[in-house]
Amino acid sequence: MKPFTYQRPFTVQEALHSIRNTPGSIFLAGGTNLVDMMKLEVINPSVLIDINQLPLNKIEPLPNGGIQIGSLVRNSDLGFHPLIRKNYPVLSQAVLSGASPQLRNMATVGGNLMQKTRCSYYRDEISPCSKRNPGSGCSALKGYHAEHAILGTSSSCIATHPSDMCVALSALEAIIHIESEKEKRKIAASEFHLLPGNSPEKETVLEPYEIIVMIELPPLPPNTTSCYIKVSHRALYEFALSSAAVVLEWEGEKIKQGRIALGGVAAKPWRCFQAERLLENSLPDEKLFRSCAETALQGAEPQKENQYKVELTKQVICKALSTAFKRSV
């Protein structure tokens, strides 16, 4: 690790003032990603602003029936929270499927949104990698890429966004609340992360002088079912090779509307808007689920070693849809 100094603000305003006025500074939450990246010397801040004392660690119901989640809520507290388990099971399942119990006890919601890709070239600190060292090229394209993305990639970067939680947030149409010294703004979860395009180093809409304060979950109609399906090399304590979060709203036997988001296969948590249209006012059956899956993967651009992800993801989508369907009956 490169040397750095350490600050511990107590209010959001103080933290925002520090980040804006201190060159080379970065926020530290649970540290499970940042400390790792600093040890690898992939991220080398000169000042750490530890935000763990800020009053952003509550989960509270909103008057509209939704829920607000402070950005410092630990992943384990989120996944185990009775209201989340009851009203948003897809989120509880996604969060508890990620990392390990020890990591989730430190990892925060804000840090989970901001976590870096697990691409091994990005993490090795020496290989050409445009995400780490803009313009240097992508080592994964011609190298090892069996775990890389098949959707939303560019010739500059084919890395996946590794989060499970964010996939559920996307399917739940969560809203991310952001603050800077000057303003407060909100952004839809599915618009928070950016596609790599020509500048894979810019990963989210968050500016360096902004902080995530809260995630808002809109209320779900009572006749909604949801689920998260994840496939990885081991059953637990492993990143997704492919995952799907599904939220279905029912009207009698019919799906009124549905939302599908994918993880482990795309450059960002991936909403399948076109496939979702097929679900509208439809009777659920395997044929419908399969055509959703086909539609969702239509634009897939696999590389040599990750072609398996196309069919795998179709099956993950079918499995998620049929599981959410079974929960409705």
Binding site: L48, Q102, L103, N105
Partner: protein, 160 residues
């Protein structure tokens, strides 16, 4: 630059003067000489460095010591009391829940954390809830049965 960090480790207050780069794991092992907590991967990928921080299990290799300022830390050295093994330690012995023993301190401290978390009250919960601790020797079946014995006895005691 050095930072003063106060930790309450296994019931004893420790005032340390540390570089901000020191992890909690390094502070425990190299400064307090509590070498029961093991360094496996140093990247959050194995669980051998598990300690309880304010009662919750965490990977001490990814916690900076400065972040733990003012908090309580329990390591494997603090698990037994008055020379008596903790029931969990005893259970690891009677189930032969180890081979080389390198992962064992992390397994036991992690299991302590696990038993305080709101998992489903089923034997499968042990396997899911202990997924953050790898064992290179593959002693998993015995580790799981050692923990299951304690989990089910707590559950029985609570329901009787």
């Amino acid at each position: 630059m050095k930072y003063s960090v106060t930790l309450r480790v296994n019931g004893k207050e420790q005032k340390l003067n540390l570089d901000a780069r020191a992890t909690l794991l390094n502070a425990l092992r190299e400064i307090l000489h509590l070498t029961g907590t093991k360094k496996g991967c140093d990247q959050g990928q194995c669980g051998s460095c598990t300690v309880l921080l304010n009662g919750k299990r965490v990977n001490s290799c990814l916690v900076l010591a400065v972040m733990a300022d003012g908090k309580t830390v329990t390591t494997i050295e603090g698990v037994s009391s008055n020379g008596e093994l903790h029931p969990l330690q005893q259970s690891f012995l009677s189930h032969d829940g180890l081979q080389c023993g390198y992962c064992t301190p992390g397994q036991i401290v992690s299991a302590l954390g696990f038993l305080n978390e709101p998992w489903d009250k089923t034997p499968e919960a042990v396997q899911i809830g202990m997924s953050g601790n790898l064992c290179r020797c593959g002693a998993y079946p015995n580790i799981a049965s050692a923990i299951e014995e304690i989990r089910s006895s707590i559950q029985e005691a609570a329901s009787s």
